[in-house]
Structure formats: structure tokens, C-alpha cells
């Protein structure tokens, strides 16, 4: 499909456009964050602690009197970066493993995919918890943990794409013309696996953001005073009785970002890869 066509089709898909707007909006907030945040996200103001939403503090203040709006704005930078890095960590090895397993088949396939199956047998969040426990709780390790957990998903998707590609005539043609394996993989197979990868990576951004926030919520992710959304929620849990806004706004932000990626990813899937529907 031509690029123009894809774009035109995406534009017709209203829900995916809503998703795109959500994503672009939050990315814009992340980019210009320092200019629009009304306060410093780390400066405490003990006199004005736990205040509800008002004109001075639109999202209220937290237990140390820090402005929640500013913290949510700065948090968007953290969450988006976590998502990007975590997805790259799972996408690159996942794609390579999937290509190898699908292309070479037999023993290579068996050994790679069984390993992937073992990783898939555990609930994602538990595996991520184990990995962060080994590496130690901080922001970087959160990204690594979330990234590693989703490697098998990409490997599977790429593998199944490769398996169906291998049977196709043009690959057979390259083979009979004497193209080397490397040439075949790099020039002919990889480019054709990109559409499903894009779809999955978009949906994966949402999942990664969610998982990272969950780790933050459990106290295994970003450590205070970093304005990470999950960690902010975990703090808000203590004040849920008198100051529900402390938890409400960071959670709403996570929801918006993840919803954006899911809506957009669903739309992309409909356009790019109808077979996955």
C-alpha cells in the first residue's frame, strides 16, 4: 500500500484519529513541559500541602505541597521515554530472534521459541517484578525489565510473519537466483515484516507505559522525588480518604496516554494488517 493511501485510510478511521490526537497532545506537553509547568515539580511547599484543585493549583497539591499539575506534566516526559526505550529493548532482540527462528526453522526455531514460551508462561508483571528485584529498583531498570518481558511477543509475531513470507513466490525466486541467506533476510524478508511490527509496537507502547507505572506503584520503579505517574499514585493511596485528587490526576494521565496508543494502534492494525484483526 502506498503511504498516501495509508494516511488517507487512517484519516477516515475516526477512533484512531482520537488516539493520535491524544498521543500528539501528550507528546507536545512533554516537549514543552518546562515552559508550561506553573511550578517546579520538586519544590515542596509544606504550608499548602494536600490542597484540593483550585485556580492557583489546578490539580491541587500533594503531601509535601508540590504542585500536582507540574508533576503530571514532568511525568509525561518520564512515561513517554520509558515507553520508547522499553519498546526498543523488546523490539530489537525480539525481531532478530523471530527472524532467526522463522527463517532457519528446525532446531534454531525450537530452541528460541521454547525459551520464549518459558518467558510467556509467567504473568508479565510478575516477570517484570522478578527482573527489577534482581537489577534493583530504579527508573532505568524498570525500562529494562519491561523491555525484556515483551521480547517473546515480538519474536512470535515476527516469526509467524516470516513463516508465511518464506512460502511466497518472490522469496523462492530470490533463493533460486542464488541470493545469500543474509541478503534474503535483510533485503526481502525484514522489510515485509515491518507493518505488523509497527502495529504491535504502537500497542506495546501503551502496555509498556502501563507496566512501568504498575512497577512504580509497587515501589519497584522510579524512586521519590521523581515525578513518575505510578509512584505518584502510590503516594496518593495513603491520602485517598481526604485528598483523592493526589491519586486521581496521575492516574488519569496514564489512562489518557495508554488509551491514545491503544486507539491509534487498533486503527493502524485495521489499515496495515487486516490479517491480525
Amino acid at each position: 500500500m502506498e503511504k498516501v493511501e495509508i494516511f488517507a485510510e487512517m484519516k477516515r478511521n475516526r477512533t484512531s484519529m482520537v488516539g493520535l490526537i491524544l498521543i500528539l497532545g501528550l507528546v507536545a506537553v512533554a516537549l514543552i513541559g518546562p515552559f508550561i509547568a506553573p511550578y517546579n515539580p520538586l519544590t515542596p511547599d509544606p504550608i499548602n500541602r494536600l490542597q484540593g484543585p483550585s485556580w492557583v493549583h489546578p490539580f491541587g497539591t500533594d503531601s509535601l505541597g508540590r504542585d500536582i499539575l507540574s508533576r503530571v506534566i514532568y511525568g509525561s516526559r518520564i512515561s513517554i521515554i520509558i515507553g520508547l526505550i522499553a519498546v526498543s529493548i523488546s523490539l530489537v532482540p525480539g525481531t532478530i530472534l523471530g527472524l532467526l527462528a522463522g527463517f532457519y526453522g528446525r532446531r534454531v526455531d525450537e530452541s528460541i521459541m521454547r525459551l520464549m514460551d518459558i518467558m510467556l508462561a509467567f504473568p508479565a508483571i510478575l516477570l517484570a517484578i522478578f527482573i527489577t528485584a534482581i537489577l534493583g529498583p530504579n527508573l532505568l531498570n524498570t525500562m529494562i525489565a519491561v523491555g525484556i518481558v515483551y521480547i517473546p511477543h515480538y519474536a512470535r509475531i515476527v516469526r509467524s510473519a516470516v513463516l508465511s513470507l518464506k512460502e511466497q513466490l518472490f522469496i523462492q525466486a530470490v533463493k533460486s537466483l542464488g541470493g545469500s541467506n543474509l541478503r534474503m533476510i535483510a533485503l526481502h524478508i525484514l522489510p515485509n515484516t515491518i507493518p505488523p511490527i509497527i502495529v504491535y509496537a504502537t500497542l506495546g507502547m501503551g502496555t509498556a507505559v502501563l507496566q512501568a507505572a504498575a512497577l512504580g506503584f509497587l515501589g519497584l520503579g522510579a524512586q521519590p522525588p521523581t515525578p513518575e505517574w505510578g509512584a505518584m499514585l502510590s503516594e496518593g493511596r495513603q491520602y485517598i480518604q481526604n485528598a483523592p485528587h493526589v491519586a486521581a490526576f496521575p492516574g488519569l494521565a496514564i489512562f489518557m496516554l495508554v488509551l491514545g496508543f491503544n486507539l491509534f494502534g487498533d486503527g493502524l492494525r485495521d489499515v496495515l494488517d487486516p490479517s491480525l484483526r
Partner: protein, 312 residues
């Protein structure tokens, strides 16, 4: 692999100012000084005897600690599974029958929102509205302090019902509503979507047209003919979701202070309580295998074609 986790349990147990002799004594007692393969051998050997070791933190046998918490988690998960399957399947069926209707559209939007929502946030918000604002549901725990529970099956709701203690039953049921609903959101959304697409596929088949042509009522066609055939992928999804439930349980239990396995494994990890963590991992693995087996058995039950294939 667990031993890669930095930090020495003996140090954590004794605090910062322990003397080296004391540390050595504790390490010896916990069997931490042998080589890793040897430690593993010892662990496997005692495991065969049904001994999962002793929790480093509390000194109580791991099996004892885990079994109580495990039942709490299972109670929560089963409740969540029932809620999610029931609402999910019904919503999915209605959506597929009234395709492109307002109900279809809105339920699918809600389902997508359900997948995108951080359940720990949803849990907190539910807690705020129902416990703090309205005060109709309790905030945390399995039942109110002061009520007595003598374990029979370990499921508080079931135990109290069996013993005819309706006060405890009502109380524990109320405690169960918020956590199980929170835990149910994501599976519910997934089941609803799966049911819808699976039903849509089945509804376009010839035998459905035949059934309609015979003049069967709509209800009959939908439930006896379509839903029965659409069940296979739905059951698969429900089974696969069990893993999701176990994972979600970690978060839900943290929010509602539910004394289950999920929170226990996180706390054990943070305390480097190796035997406890090993026990939990083993249990999780066993559960996943059992659930997959169960799903396979259910397949045979609902799809006679598989039975024939199995015999030949």
C-alpha cells in the same frame, strides 16, 4: 537465578550492626554457604518430601505461609473470573447481535477503556467513591476485625456459608466486591471483545441461517446454536487470562490490603526471602500448568469433534 539478587538475607535479618560471627551463624543455619547447585539439590530433595523450606523472614514453614495466602488469592481470582466472564460474555453477545448499535459501540469503547486503564488507579477511585464517599463498602481486608473465622476450606465466603454464619458471609462478600471487580476489569474487556468477534464469525455461518430458516426463536438461535459454537476461543481467552489475574492480583492486593499471595511475593522479594519466593514461583508455575490443562479438558467437553479426533 534468584540468588543473583544482590543483598544477603542474613544481613537483612540481623540488621546493619550484626557481628560477623552472628552473620556466619545465621548463614550456616539457613544453608546459604553451600554451592548453588548443592543448595538447589537440597531444596529439591526436601521438596519431594513436601517441605518447601522455612521462610527466612518469619521462621514459619513456607508451605504454611503460602497456603493461607494462596487461598485468599484464589478466592479473589475466582470471584473476578466469574464477574468478568459473566459480564464479558453477555456484553459480547449483545454487541454481536445488535451490531453497530449504540450498545455495541459504547460497550466496545468501554472495553477499550478497560484495557487502557491502570487497574490500580481504578481500584483507588472505586475505593474512594464506594468506601469514602458513599461508605457502603469496606476499604480493605477480607472481613472486619473482630469477626471470627475458623478456616474450613480457606475461602472465607464459602466457609461462613457452610457454617451458616450469615453475618460473616455478608461481611466477607462485601469485602470481596471492590477488589474482585477491580481485578475483573481487564479480563472482562478482553472477553467481551473476543466474544463479540467470535460470535460475529459464527453468526455468518450457514447453519445459523438454517436454524433461523427453521423458524427458531432468536434466543434459541443465539444461545443454543451460535454461542455454543463461539465458545472455544472464548474459553481459551478465559484460560489465558488466568495468568493476567494472577499478575493483576499483585496490584489489587496492594490497593485493598488483601492478604494474598501477590503482595506476599513482592514483599518476600524485597526482603530476599528466597525460600518464600521459590515457593511462590513454584506455585505460580503449577497453577499455570493446571489452568492450561483445565482449558484443554473443557475443550473436549464443549467440542465433540475434538473427542472423536482424540480417539482415532
Amino acid at each position: 537465578m534468584l540468588r543473583l539478587i544482590p543483598g544477603d538475607p542474613a544481613h537483612l535479618l540481623l540488621g546493619e550492626f550484626a557481628s560477623p560471627q552472628e552473620v556466619a551463624r545465621i548463614r550456616d543455619k539457613l544453608g546459604l554457604d553451600g554451592s548453588y547447585p548443592y543448595q538447589y539439590y537440597i531444596y529439591l530433595r526436601s521438596l519431594l518430601k513436601g517441605d518447601m523450606g522455612v521462610s527466612i523472614r518469619s521462621g514459619v514453614p513456607v508451605f504454611q505461609e503460602i497456603s493461607v495466602r494462596f487461598l485468599a488469592t484464589v478466592e479473589l481470582s475466582i470471584a473476578a473470573m466469574m464477574i468478568s466472564s459473566f459480564i464479558g460474555i453477555i456484553a459480547g453477545v449483545i454487541s454481536s447481535v445488535r451490531r453497530y448499535s449504540v450498545f455495541d459501540y459504547s460497550s466496545m469503547v468501554v472495553a477499550l477503556a478497560g484495557i487502557s486503564m491502570p487497574i490500580f488507579w481504578l481500584g483507588l477511585m472505586l475505593m474512594y467513591f464506594f468506601s469514602v464517599k458513599l461508605g457502603v463498602l469496606p476499604m480493605m481486608g477480607r472481613f472486619t476485625m473482630g469477626l471470627e473465622h475458623h478456616p474450613l476450606t480457606g475461602f472465607v465466603t464459602l466457609d461462613s456459608l457452610l457454617k451458616g454464619d450469615f453475618r460473616l458471609f455478608g461481611n466477607s462478600l462485601k469485602h470481596l466486591i471492590l477488589p474482585s471487580f477491580t481485578l475483573a476489569t481487564i479480563p472482562m474487556a478482553i472477553i467481551a471483545r473476543m466474544t463479540r468477534s467470535s460470535m460475529l464469525e459464527v453468526m455468518s455461518k450457514d447453519y445459523i441461517r438454517t436454524a433461523r430458516a427453521k423458524g427458531l426463536s432468536d434466543r434459541n438461535v443465539i444461545f443454543r446454536h451460535a454461542l455454543k459454537n463461539a465458545f472455544l476461543p472464548i474459553i481459551t481467552v478465559i484460560g489465558l487470562n488466568f495468568g493476567l489475574l494472577l499478575g493483576g492480583a499483585v496490584l489489587t492486593e496492594t490497593i485493598f490490603s488483601w492478604p494474598g499471595l501477590g503482595r506476599y511475593v513482592v514483599d518476600s522479594l524485597l526482603a530476599r526471602d528466597y525460600p518464600a519466593v521459590q515457593g511462590c514461583i513454584l506455585l505460580f508455575a503449577v497453577i499455570m500448568v493446571m489452568v492450561n490443562l483445565l482449558v484443554d479438558i473443557v475443550y473436549f467437553y464443549i467440542d465433540p469433534r475434538l473427542r472423536v479426533d482424540g480417539k482415532s
